[in-house]
Amino acid sequence: MLRLEPRRAPSEAMIYATPFVAVALTLAAGCVLFALLGRDPIQAMYLIFIKPLTTLSGRAELAVKATPLILIATGLAVGFRAGVWNIGAEGQFTVGALTGGSVALAVYPAGGPWLLPLMALAGVIGGMAWAAIPAFLRTRFNANEILVSLMLSYVAVLLLGVLVHGLLRDPQGFNFPESRLFQSSALLPVLIPGTRAHIGAIFALVAVALTQLFMARHISGYQIKVLGLAPKAARFAGFCERRIIWGCFLLSGGLAGLAGLCEAAGPVGQLVPALPVGYGFTAIIVAFLGRLHPLGILAGGLLIGLTYIGGEAAQIALRLPAAAIAIFQGMLLFFLLASDILVRFRPVWRPRPRPTASSGPEPMPATTLAP
């Protein structure tokens, strides 16, 4: 039977090489997939990975897609390193968009330079508040934060739906379930004229830089790493687990909320039920693709963003089914996890132990495998 045996010392170099290996394998498997669908695989790869980068608008769209991914993944990765599994960034993203956007709608049509900072603040607080629910339940009742945060995502999406169907619906919108279009002072400034690239990209870069500094140099970053690697050592050193869990949830929730606000006040420009498109979930892939390191996440976010834009272009140009692109994106996570496992374990083919003649039936293995 095939078994996985832990390697004595996983190679440091391989741990950082796995994302590249995974990307290469995804490319190879993607070529096979597209070829089986009767499309030219080289052309498909060109459309997905190269073509979007050749035009200014393509590069700007990449920034638009990668911004929320990087913002969310940066926060999530901090929690993941502490062993705090916030899977509900999608919900925190949605609530951030909702609270931030509501500020603009509440003061409509007034506006001014004060409005955007206020909206950003409201977005961050909204995301934090939504993340505070799993944090409270985890620290108070030891409830599983994976389930709680995940379930709350669906609650948040439904909450957005209720509100844009009712309270926040555009009075002049012919009963369409949408809010008003935000007043112009509630829209994020555009970085490159003529494109949709907005100032949120700067936020993402700042978040990456600050998180990198925080994790590498600040004692809280150290405490987060210790809690994730050796919880008993964290207790020995007197690090407060409860405080670290709260900190991780508030940071990741706040950044997800900011990402939500950037999406609403950036490319979308209003609140619509379709605002959450899965950035919160994709960001989990981005976080792991980037090895939970802020700089890696920057690269991972850009790569995944590229497959989004390029994937859409390839769908249109080659008339590929949407599912083919989704499979292609899913393969990336599959190969990443697979190579991660193979870095830490090695597969061993071992024939099933046959009972020897004198021992009768095979004894149960409870006694055998002391280390």
């Binding site: 050592a233 207790r235 020995f236 050193a237 007197g238 021992s359 409870a366 055998t368 280390p371």
Partner: protein, 511 residues
């Protein structure tokens, strides 16, 4: 000369980057108690794993009872007549003795008469045990008996014992030795792995000494002294530690009426524990593992807080309600028993591991920011002062051998210049050279006026270090008494108090 029961010929096992065994040859004769001696990392465990079929040798061959022997798995090793009792038991706490034993036996041997056979075997070998008891309620010595009985039911011709006495009281050690001698008299060979040299001289008729994966010597331990064996084992001469001159300083740390229910299943509740330690004194707390030591350690470090702040006082200040950080700021330092994962983070570098103790100051942290260079210098200072064998402070804690990591951890705490140091099992699984270095460091620290508490199962260690000794048994602590007034036998009896024979009497064996 009798034909050997087990013959190893040129066994070699390599792991990536390290040769665990190189050209190891040895003979174990029928009915002989054969010692396998060596420091940690000398290759004893690898050798045993090959004999027991957990690993396969890269080169060389084994013969058992004259026939070629290459077990593919432990089941085959058992079928050929080899049994093993590991240092760490594989028993399920929540199940009875009989059920635990049945789990490791072939189904054909698990008939309804199993309890009866266990009872019969245990009486005839002096391994008193009630087959109906739940394993979670047994002492460590009793659990070991369960493991031994499990082996004996399969009538082994070779029994391997891996560091069997490290968890036993002196009385239990004597009983174990009687059992092993009886087995050897009946013709069963024993391969006895240990680094306790007195025991080997007393018990074994032959010894093979491993160092760096190679056989250094084969000798008759009855003709060697403990010192000569130790020197063969580590390859250098040992400097004797200088004993502590007892000082009468003021009371520094005091524990009064400390009671604390355990937060672990099958844990031990602390019951009205009281002691005090003076400056310049080493107080030894003896006891068999699992009698409340880890609970007491948690209470002393502040990982668990006492219900009453006054239960622990430091220089007359109540500290029972303070966490580890506050206690470190008041000058306390701690070395818990478990090196990897508790006292150190395995995957972080030595530099980063200094920060676990950084609350005590030494300027490693400035307004929440880590001063990496200072931390690295601190790590380098520990490495240099305590002769930690490492490639540098960037090496991960996991990569160090047990003894070297322990020197690093003890060194980290000592260099913080604590007023009170609490150490649990300072030399558990540590080789002789590192043990001597750690003992000397503790004595030097006490001579400088530090109050030290050493929690240990190793009575030799406590007699070498402590000025006073108290015994912890089932969560209660005896009155500390000066070491000079105590004998190993007296302490041994207190250690076993109530845990060995008494419960069996209360619950008579079901026929």
């Amino acid at each position: 000369m009798k034909a050997p029961l087990l013959r190893l010929d040129g066994l070699t096992k390599r792991f990536p980057g390290v040769v665990a065994n190189e050209d190891v040859s040895l003979d174990v004769v029928r009915g002989q108690i054969h010692a396998l001696l060596g420091e940690n990392g000398a290759g004893k465990s690898t050798l045993v794993k090959m004999i027991y079929g957990i690993m396969r040798p890269d080169a060389g061959e084994m013969r058992f009872e004259g026939k070629p022997y290459a077990p593919a798995n432990p089941a085959e090793a058992r079928a050929r007549g080899i049994g093993i009792v590991f240092q760490h038991f594989s028993l399920f706490d929540a199940m009875t003795v009989t059920d635990n034993i049945a789990l490791g036996l072939p189904v054909t041997q698990c008939g309804p008469d199993l309890s009866y056979r266990i009872g019969k075997l245990s009486t005839s070998y002096g391994l008193t045990i009630d087959p109906a008891r739940i394993v979670g309620t047994l002492s460590v010595g009793e659990r070991q008996r369960v493991e031994i009985i499990r082996c004996l039911l399969q009538v082994p011709r070779l029994l391997i014992m891996d560091e069997p006495t490290s968890v036993l009281t002196p009385l239990e050690v004597d009983m174990l030795f009687a059992t092993l001698r009886r087995l050897s008299f009946e013709g069963c060979a024993v391969l006895y792995i240990s680094h306790k040299l007195e025991e080997i001289s007393a018990l074994c008729g032959s010894a093979t000494i491993l160092r760096g994966g190679r056989v250094i010597a084969t000798c008759d331990p009855r003709r060697e002294t403990a010192r000569s064996l130790a020197e063969m084992m580590i390859g250098t001469t040992l400097a004797p530690t200088s004993p502590l001159v007892a000082q009468e300083g003021p009371v520094c740390l005091a524990v009064n009426q400390l009671s604390l229910p355990s937060d672990m299943p099958f844990g031990v509740d602390l019951d009205d524990v009281a002691f005090d330690v003076r400056r310049g004194e080493i107080l030894g707390l003896a006891g068999v593992a699992g009698n409340g030591q880890s609970e007491l350690m948690d209470a002393l470090t502040g990982e668990r807080m006492a219900a009453v702040a006054e239960a622990i006082t430091l220089d007359d200040t109540a500290i029972g309600h303070l966490g580890p950080v506050e206690r470190r700021k008041l000058g306390m330092a701690f070395v818990p028993e478990e090196r990897l994962g508790h006292a150190a983070v395995p995957d972080l570098s030595l530099t980063d591991n200094t920060l676990l103790a950084a609350a005590a100051g030494d300027g490693l942290i400035w307004r929440g920011w880590v001063r990496k260079r200072k931390a690295r210098h601190f790590a380098e200072r520990i490495v240099a002062t305590f002769d930690v064998r490492t490639t540098g402070p960037q090496q991960s804690a996991r990569a160090l051998s047990g003894g070297n990591l322990q020197k690093f951890i003890v060194g980290r705490e000592i260099l913080l210049d604590p007023a009170v140091l609490i150490v649990a099992q300072p030399t558990w699984g540590v080789d002789a050279g590192a043990t001597a270095a750690i003992h000397q460091a503790l004595l030097d620290l006490a001579a400088k006026g530090c109050a030290i508490v050493v929690i240990s199962q190793d009575l030799d260690e406590l007699f070498a270090l402590a000025t006073r000794i108290a015994v912890i048994a089932q969560g209660r602590l005896s009155q500390p008494a000066p070491t000079a007034s105590l004998t190993i036998e007296a302490i041994g009896q207190a250690m076993g108090g109530g845990t060995t024979a008494a419960p069996v009497k209360r619950e008579p064996v079901d026929a």
